[in-house]
């Protein structure tokens, strides 16, 4: 830095109007956050690549397409597709989002934003939007691969979409609650993992729900992803998802989201 002169600013273009500026700022914020997501190889592998590879492998291995007694009369592919679809949302909302947001809080990124015309809440919005969009895109890929490989397409499609969106809302609520509770990025990471494994367990990742004993299955019914599996499997089979399952999902979204909004700290 040899010449340090601060020249008169170049004439600014006419004010674009507050609304237009705000909208543009939000999209640029979301774009930048998406860019940062893709620059993090770990996030991309765990949230996007892994489930796609998994569904492709399930689809290619011949044995997994056929109905099996040990999977309650469904094919392994059929059992795992909803779980994989929910995995994407859970991974993004519970393991990625809290770590990113609490590191932003720790590093003062949120505070820096509060000194600008763009309040830090917009950053939360942008992050939520990215993970929602990411989940939807990956899930479409999973669904297409699965269908091509012979899994039945969801016959109650409306119910399927509603269930999946409720899964997205519930996991985002849980992720925001973790973000609110965790004081540091390390704590957020730890809480994310501690939440992730039990939820995947009750979704039936290791023991399919049909194989669970009654107490486990009851817990699963009241767990967000257990309820999610119920709702998704029902709509794949052509029924409207059970109200109880939808209520459980909505309950997690509302209760966790509300608690998070009360407990959230910007610094």
């Amino acid at each position: 830095m040899t010449t340090v002169a601060y020249p008169a600013p170049t004439p600014a273009p006419a004010p674009a109007g507050a609304m237009a500026v705000r909208r543009r700022a939000f999209w640029l914020l979301a774009r930048t956050e998406a860019l940062l997501f893709f620059r993090n190889a770990g996030s991309v592998v765990w949230t996007a690549l892994l489930p796609i590879v998994a569904v492709v492998v399930l689809g290619i291995v011949p044995g997994t397409r056929h109905a099996s007694r040990s999977f309650g009369g469904l094919s392994p592919l059929q059992v795992y597709v909803p779980i994989l679809m929910m995995y994407v949302f859970l991974m993004a909302a519970v393991n990625m989002l809290p770590a990113v947001l609490s590191s932003y809080r720790e590093k003062g990124v949120l505070r820096r934003l509060s000194t600008t015309p763009v309040p830090p809440g917009r950053l939360l919005g942008a992050q939520g939007l990215i993970y929602l969009g990411l989940g939807v895109v990956i899930d479409v890929v999973i669904l297409v691969v699965a269908t091509v490989c012979g899994a039945p397409a969801p016959r109650q499609f409306g119910g399927f979409v509603v269930s999946l969106l409720l899964v997205a809302a519930a996991t985002l609520g849980i992720g925001m609650l973790i973000t609110a509770i965790a004081k540091t990025e390390r704590i957020a990471n730890a809480l994310g993992l501690v939440t992730f494994f039990p939820l995947m367990f009750f979704a039936g990742l290791w023991i399919p729900r049909d194989k669970m004993n009654v107490p486990l299955r009851t817990i699963s019914d009241y767990s967000p992803l257990g309820a999610g599996v119920r709702a998704l499997q029902a709509s794949i089979a052509g029924h409207w998802p059970p109200t109880a399952a939808l209520l459980v999902l909505a309950g997690y979204a509302i209760v966790c989201g509300f608690a998070a909004s009360r407990m959230f700290r910007w610094e």
Partner: protein, 317 residues
């Protein structure tokens, strides 16, 4: 002078039981570089965070460009650029992306590419924040505070952690920002920085303003002793100088004689030596600096916690 750009009246702020700012008042005029000086924990950051609307004051009155920083938040943020003390960016965000993003927040932003050049960050436009040096990160932070074309800028400890060359570059930069008409509120615990840059300085200690003046006045007002060191050309008795009314004490370190006295001590000592035909070799006189003024005002022996990498510029004693 017109309406002050920043007005702080009897500001008070507590964190639970702990009072961070007890009673702070000052006002900053347009075009001024105003310094807030004080040891760590004095309440400087809390004061400027209240001014910037990041914290709600518990008492007193605050105005920025005549607006309430909390109540008129949306209008204040458009005119005020803030560089916070502890504030980083995502490590994978590139310099150019950060400036472009932050410039999109404002209705009349500065040209961020130009700002990049001005701050000497042009070659780093494609570099990720995490790969920048400390000085480059600070300059980016200044750039982000200026990218909205603010009328007022608050800069909190922006040279802490910089090496002396980077610090001097930053000082030049701040002067040129001021020359453009931006009013600057500068928080620092470096005396040299305040002495060099500030038109006026408020010294804050334990949440109160203990002095407010120009750096020159703060120094001059002090009745601080002169310290005169020299090596006499021929041996002299201590009493030769200690009997002078202007001299308080005489001591020796090897060949060197150290004379401590009031404002007129140098003249008296020089006259006495001349009359005796003694030459004073390697003569050095230490004048009181803002550093000394600060110590006298706050009664502190040391500027607390000078930061991890650098120590404040202090005079040899």
């Amino acid at each position: 002078m017109s309406v002050p750009v920043i007005e702080v009246e009897r500001l008070r702020k507590q964190y639970g039981e702990r009072t961070a700012v007890a009673d702070v008042s000052f006002s900053v005029n347009e075009g001024e570089i105003f310094g807030i000086l004080g040891p760590n924990g004095a309440g400087k950051t809390t004061t400027v965070e209240c001014i910037g609307g990041l914290r709600r004051a518990d008492g007193g009155r605050l105005r920025v460009l005549g607006l309430d920083p909390v109540g008129d938040r949306s209008r204040v943020v458009a005119e005020l650029g803030v560089q916070l003390q502890h504030s980083e960016l995502p490590p994978n965000l590139k310099v150019g992306e950060a400036l472009r993003l932050y410039s999109s927040f404002y209705e009349r932003p500065a040209d961020w590419r130009e700002l990049l050049e001005v701050l000497g960050l042009g070659p780093q436009a494609g570099t990720r924040y995490g790969k920048l040096s400390g000085g480059q990160q600070q300059r980016l932070s200044i750039a982000l505070a200026l990218v909205g074309n603010p009328r007022v800028a608050i800069l909190d400890e922006l040279t802490t952690g910089l090496d002396p060359a980077a610090r001097r570059d930053t000082w030049e930069l701040i002067e040129s920002v001021r020359d453009r008409g931006v009013t600057i509120l500068l928080v620092t615990h470096f005396m040299a920085e305040a002495e060099r840059l500030c038109d006026r300085v408020a010294v804050i200690d334990t949440g109160r303003v203990v002095a407010l003046d120009t750096p020159a006045e703060l120094t001059a007002r002090l009745d601080v002793q002169q310290r005169i060191r020299f090596v006499p050309s021929v041996p002299i008795e201590d009493s030769l100088l200690s009997e002078l009314p202007e001299v308080e004490s005489v001591s020796r370190r090897g060949d060197e004689v150290l004379v401590v006295g009031g404002a007129d001590a140098l003249a008296a000592v020089a006259a006495r030596l001349a009359r005796q035909g003694v030459l004073a070799h390697r003569l050095r006189v230490e004048q009181p600096s803002l550093d000394d003024a600060f110590l006298a005002i706050t009664g502190r022996d040391e500027v607390a916690d000078p930061g991890p990498r650098v120590r404040p510029l202090r005079h040899d004693r």
